[in-house]
């Protein structure tokens, strides 16, 4: 996906959802475009391409990053996990169930990013109150739900993991 002739491409080797991947990429290709286009992992979305909306969040070495702000070549050697990977290894099954039952999504476009943030909140553990959950979600825009159902779903998954559902 670039104007550059092949000679301008750079090699990148990384792990995506547990699988080793080696590709030649144009230096300007973002990690978001790389996973969406080169790897056809379209669960990661782009809503602003400037780090504001959070639709493009993926895990890079376990930490949420805005894949629209990272160049693919910067992910060389990294372990990337997208919503597809988290889903397949069952890491967010409880969170997804809570989202589904609480109807914490409408169009679903923000949802993969919300799940990545939600996963990070769950991994941190403890029982943050609603205000903390709302703060933690503030890098994720949702235009459809009004957020409350998302906060509810994350709160419920937290309680379940803490064994106090």
């Amino acid at each position: 996906m670039s104007a550059s002739p092949m000679s301008d491409f750079l090699p990148v080797t990384l792990t995506v959802n547990g699988t080793a991947v080696s590709r030649m990429v144009a230096p300007r290709t973002t990690l978001a475009d790389f996973v969406r286009t080169d790897l056809q992992l379209t669960g990661t979305h782009t809503g602003c391409e400037m780090g504001a909306c959070g639709a493009c969040l993926v895990l890079m070495n376990g930490e949420p990053v805005h894949s629209c702000l990272v160049f693919a070549i910067q992910a060389d050697g990294a372990a990337i996990e997208t919503v597809e990977g988290l889903t397949e290894r069952g890491a967010i099954e409880d969170l997804q169930r809570a989202f589904h039952e609480r109807n914490a999504l409408q169009c679903g476009f923000c949802t993969p990013g919300m799940l990545v943030t939600g996963h990070a909140i769950l991994e941190k553990g403890g029982l943050p109150d609603r205000e903390h959950i709302r703060d933690a979600l503030s890098g994720n825009y949702c235009r459809c739900t009004g957020y409350e159902a998302i906060v509810d779903a994350i709160e419920r998954a937290l309680r379940e993991r803490e064994g106090c559902a």
Binding site: M1, A3, R36, C107, F109, R143, T145, G146, Y147
Partner: protein
């Protein structure tokens, strides 16, 4: 909420309608397996980028595309002239708006640009990046023209014209007058008045607009994958403007990442992409990036209103008199126009209340900005804020409590049917019941006591109330009578499959509201099968019958009734076939839980067995037995021109008078959307709508400079509500089903947006009142609040 659906028989007690059920189709989205147009890639697909005008108003001179044509990966560079050869122009007027005017539009302009960001030249290349690189090489000469960037400039008597052929910059004017208004004002004990400003804002669906046009010259056939609410409208438009027979045009709207009205209008780029595919003979994709979305998606609102109300000494509202001026950009949007919002503003003002007199004027004005048009709750937030602010002012001058003055003046629940002075006919509304419930939901008296206590300690809390009526389920009175080929009816094909499952192909569409879920619930009850054997398909003109699709809160009311009637029809066929097989009378049988049962509930045979015989052993059927296990059915709303809904909002805020920051503590809604099919989905529609309304109240505004340049067109600069700024939202319901349909459902998608900003405005003014400050402009930014406090 589990009241039986009227008309249900003893057999098919509703098990689904009225229950909060989660959405089967949401699981896919949760797994990252959504199928959005932005995700889609077709073989040999090319990508389009557009060269956009840097000027808000300029004549187009020479265009040099040679360098762009020679750039790597470029397949086509097309100008306005190139595409004008393929596509006929369009004009965004409707006949029932008498005297309205707008200039014809083409996909890309041929003579001048009329807003900054308007697409001028298209570049098609192997990748989006190559198309964007080449677009930078296109050289366009412009001769700048005077820019009309605001209402006053455009309305000045000697103003230059946005369209030279027109005598003025007025798209449309309208006036309403019940008569006798001046006399009422002259004798009223009090007159309250205000000047309001409502900023321009925009929908910001999180997935920007996306389209892939795929023209196949061998069959003169066009397939468009289009992130839209209204695939049939676009099938019709692509067919007529590009001269391709309707049956050869297919529009597919897969998962759509939010729309809120934004994705049902004709956009220049989208129309151009069809032409680009015809010229390239290959699929061409265009996805607006966020910056492009801000300068090309429709905007909404942008109203300046002067309003006054005549009030009796005892707080009775007597009359209202309003003038609305709204700036809509350089064209009226096609095919739904840009005057519907203003028209609804002047017709909805005062609508919840009994009035003796009403007068309103409307001016819809062209300017050099991107078009405005229908976005969630069209006109309602403006009408509601104007009305409800005046009601609060009336309460203030007469010493009444805001809830008291509303209780005193709303149309009583026993007064229906009745009509507003602006001509809207109300079947049955429930303002009084909603007010009573809101008082309890908010624990109003406690909030007032707390407010007084905190005020003594210098903490400024405010409580704002706003009643509303909402237009849902429009008949052809909305668009059809004006000549627009926008359907007010919907259609469904409903079938029992060979395995005894149920497939429904229905013309209403899904953008996450839960359309498919509620259609399934209605069918489950009225056919008599479990929800999980029903598959509902939407969003493809090649798959479902023609219909209006989803807008103006018509999915549940019209789509739901279509499904109900189709299910009844199919059930009749199933039972008559089963009666033939069982040698019984159809009237003695029913279908319950996908089984044919006797009156006493004894199971006679399964639906799967009926289907097996119908599809594979028709030889065993008795003579004359009809095995019609697929039915097609259309439903068009009749009776009242619109199914009005109503409700009331409460907003509780705390204002920091030092910083101008507002903390929204809680928001409350009591709404009456008629029969509730799925309370879980209704409440989430309301919450999402409230937050968009609070966005308009506090954050969202498209800011322009005097040169007509949008100065905050990015998601870093244009503020949308974030989770940390939003409150929990408490909701309660009153259910007044419409008797125009058997289902009784109205709409709920706009109830949240309609009144949230009005309640917020009243809440902030309630907090600031003791300091003598008053705001009548949204968004209520910290700077504006400090200005109102005289501190800035």
């Amino acid at each position: 909420m589990n009241a039986p659906v009227h008309g249900s028989t003893a057999f098919d007690r509703p098990a689904h309608v009225g229950r909060g059920m989660s959405r089967p189709n949401a699981k896919r989205l949760l797994a990252g397996k959504g199928n959005y147009v932005t995700d889609l890639a077709l073989p040999r697909m090319l990508h389009a980028a557009f060269v956009r005008s840097p000027h808000a108003h300029a004549r187009i001179g020479a265009i040099d595309v040679e360098a762009a044509r020679a750039a790597p990966g470029v397949r086509l560079v097309a100008t306005g002239e190139d595409i004008a050869k393929l596509c006929t122009p369009w004009t965004g007027t409707l006949d029932h708006f008498k005297g309205m005017k707008s200039a014809p539009q083409l996909p890309l302009p041929v003579d001048k640009v009329v807003w900054s960001g308007q697409a001028v030249v298209a570049v098609v290349a192997d990748s989006r990046a190559e198309a964007e690189d080449a677009a930078e090489l296109v050289m366009i000469d412009y001769e700048e023209l005077p820019v009309l960037a605001d209402l006053d400039t455009a309305l000045a008597p000697d103003a230059p014209k946005v369209t030279e052929d027109f005598a003025d910059n007025l798209c449309f004017r309208s006036a309403l007058d019940s008569g006798g208004v001046d006399a009422v004002f002259a004798s009223a004990a009090h007159v309250v008045e205000a000047d309001f400003l409502f900023g321009r804002h925009t929908g910001v669906p999180l997935e920007p607009r996306a389209i892939i046009a795929d023209y196949d010259a061998s069959e003169h056939r066009l397939t468009v994958h289009h992130a839209t609410q209204t695939p049939f409208q676009f099938q019709d438009l692509y067919s007529r403007h590009y001269g391709i027979p309707e049956a050869r045009v297919r529009v597919v709207a897969p998962d759509v990442g939010g729309s809120f009205g934004v994705k049902l209008h004709v956009y220049n780029e989208d129309m151009a992409v069809v032409g680009l595919s015809i010229l390239c003979r290959r699929p061409v994709k265009f996805v607006a990036d966020r910056l492009e979305a801000f300068v090309s998606d429709i905007h909404a609102r942008d109203h300046r209103v002067h309003a006054r109300a005549a009030v009796a000494a005892d707080g009775t509202l007597l009359a209202m008199d309003v003038e609305d001026e709204t700036g809509i950009g350089a064209f009226s949007t096609y095919p739904r126009t840009s005057v519907v919002e203003g028209n609804q503003v002047i017709r909805l003002i005062g609508a919840p209340y009994r009035l003796e007199g009403y007068r309103a004027g409307l001016k819809v004005v062209f300017q050099n900005k991107v078009q405005t048009s229908q976005y969630r709750a069209v006109g309602h937030p403006i009408a509601c804020a104007v009305t409800e602010h005046l009601v609060d002012e009336a309460a203030r001058v007469t010493g009444l409590d805001p809830l008291e003055i509303r209780a005193k003046n709303v149309i009583p629940d026993t007064a229906y049917p009745c009509a507003s002075l602006s001509g809207y006919k109300f079947e049955k509304l429930s303002h009084e019941a909603c007010l009573t419930k809101l008082r309890a939901l908010m624990d109003y008296e406690r909030l007032r006591t707390e407010q007084a206590e905190l005020r003594a300690r210098g903490i400024l809390r405010g409580i704002g109330i706003a009643t509303f009526v909402e237009i849902t389920n429009p008949t052809p009175a909305f668009y059809g009578i004006g000549g627009a080929r926008i359907s007010a009816q919907d259609g469904a094909v409903l079938a029992v499959t060979p395995s005894g499952e149920v497939r429904c192909q229905i013309s209403v569409t899904e953008q996450g509201q839960g359309t498919e879920t509620i259609v399934g619930q209605v069918i489950a009850d009225h056919l008599g099968v479990p929800r999980d054997i029903i598959r509902v398909m939407t969003g493809d003109t090649a798959v479902t019958p023609h219909g209006g699709a989803t807008w103006a809160c018509r999915g549940a009311g019209i789509g739901g009734e279509t499904a109900l009637q189709a299910a009844r029809k199919l059930k009749t066929n199933v039972l008559s076939l089963a009666a033939g097989i069982l040698q019984a009378k159809p009237a003695d049988l029913d279908l319950v839980n996908a089984e044919v049962v006797d009156r006493d509930g004894t199971v006679r045979m399964s639906l799967a067995e009926v289907a097996r015989i119908a599809y594979f052993r028709s030889d065993t059927l008795p003579d004359g037995a009809e095995a019609q296990l697929t039915v097609a059915h259309h439903f068009a709303p009749k009776g009242y021109p619109f199914a009005f809904t109503n409700g009331i909002h409460g907003c509780h805020v705390e204002v920091d008078a030092e910083t101008g920051l507002v903390k929204i503590l809680k928001h409350f809604v009591v709404e009456d959307c008629g029969r509730i099919i799925n309370p879980l989905l209704v409440e989430e529609q309301v919450r999402g709508g409230v937050v968009q309304g609070l966005g308009a109240a506090f954050f969202e505004e498209c800011l322009y400079d005097q040169g007509g340049q949008l100065t905050n067109g990015s998601l870093a600069d244009y503020l949308v509500p974030m989770s940390c700024e939003m409150p929990d939202i408490l909701i309660d319901h009153v259910e007044t089903p419409t008797l125009d349909t058997e289902l009784g459902a109205k709409g709920c998608g706009e109830a949240g947006t309609a009144a949230a900003s009005a309640a917020a405005l009243n809440a902030v003014n309630d907090a600031l009142g003791p300091l003598g400050a008053r705001l009548t402009q949204v968004p209520m930014t910290p700077a504006r609040i400090l200005k109102a406090l005289g501190r800035f």
